[in-house]
Symmetry: C2
Subunit: 153 residues, 2 copies
């Protein structure tokens, strides 16, 4: 998770990627849609290209112009986007309701995203999940008072 946050964990990157999913491709498009400063936009696009989330494709020579296109790695961010949108729709709406609805072309209905278990297909919740650290993982956090009691014993 820390590594993912290293890629998309700042105030603008996720919004830039949202525009990608909404079909933005060019510098000016991002800039006017988001109101981000041109400086930061250039910076962030470079970073995303370096990290393999976007690809920079020339679409004309002289002056050189490029479009920024999602790679597969970038497209794979879709569940994150949907999860963010859905949480906002659930907990941060105002009187006007949610700004967008999503239609699933396969079944033709308006839907919400649901996160399920890859093995049994049941919806997931935090309490039903047991975490198993693997070698190399950061040691688990101990409850401080438990810690003290154990040392005392």
């Amino acid at each position: 998770m820390a590594r993912t946050i290293g890629v998309i964990g700042d105030r603008w990157t996720l919004l830039i990627l949202r525009e990608c999913f909404l079909r933005a491709r060019r510098f000016e498009g991002f800039q006017s849609a988001l109101g981000i400063t041109r400086h930061l936009l250039a910076e962030r696009l470079k970073k995303l290209v370096r990290q393999g989330v976007l690809r920079r494709i020339p679409y004309q020579e002289s002056p050189k112009r490029h479009e920024y296109i999602l790679t597969q790695k970038g497209l794979d961010l879709y569940p994150i986007m949907m999860a963010l949108v859905h949480w906002g729709d659930t907990h941060m709406v105002d009187e006007r309701g949610r700004p967008l609805l999503h239609e699933h072309r396969k079944c033709g209905k308006m839907f919400d995203p649901v996160m399920v278990c890859s093995e049994c297909g049941e919806p997931l919740s935090a309490k039903e999940v047991q975490v198993h650290p693997r070698p190399g993982a950061r040691p688990a956090l101990e409850n401080a008072s438990l810690e003290r009691r154990r040392q005392a014993a």
Copy 2:
């Protein structure tokens, strides 16, 4: 999505919440697990409490001490967490492999999270989803060259 990012869209907040899901509850626990500066940690915890993601519960008087517990609103961030973790596991692993495995208590198996359509249960991908703006939504972005051509016509 912008509103969700307003809540969790900075370099530390998501990591703090990860620790909450891993059972951290107290200031010192967060601080030593993350190496965040105490200043920022205090700031972020306050913000999360203000936004209703965490609740501040006293667990002793004199000196006053509190634990930070996820509210339902906070627990509902779980799909976002899992989506972030899974993307990292897929695209950002090094030789040591993924740091954690997740077991689904209901079915007893190690699993990955999958995002599916609430209506038909099929896995989602960006291309299968059609977006429908609702009144009040920001106007959709036009492709710049299309825009020009239309004005020219």
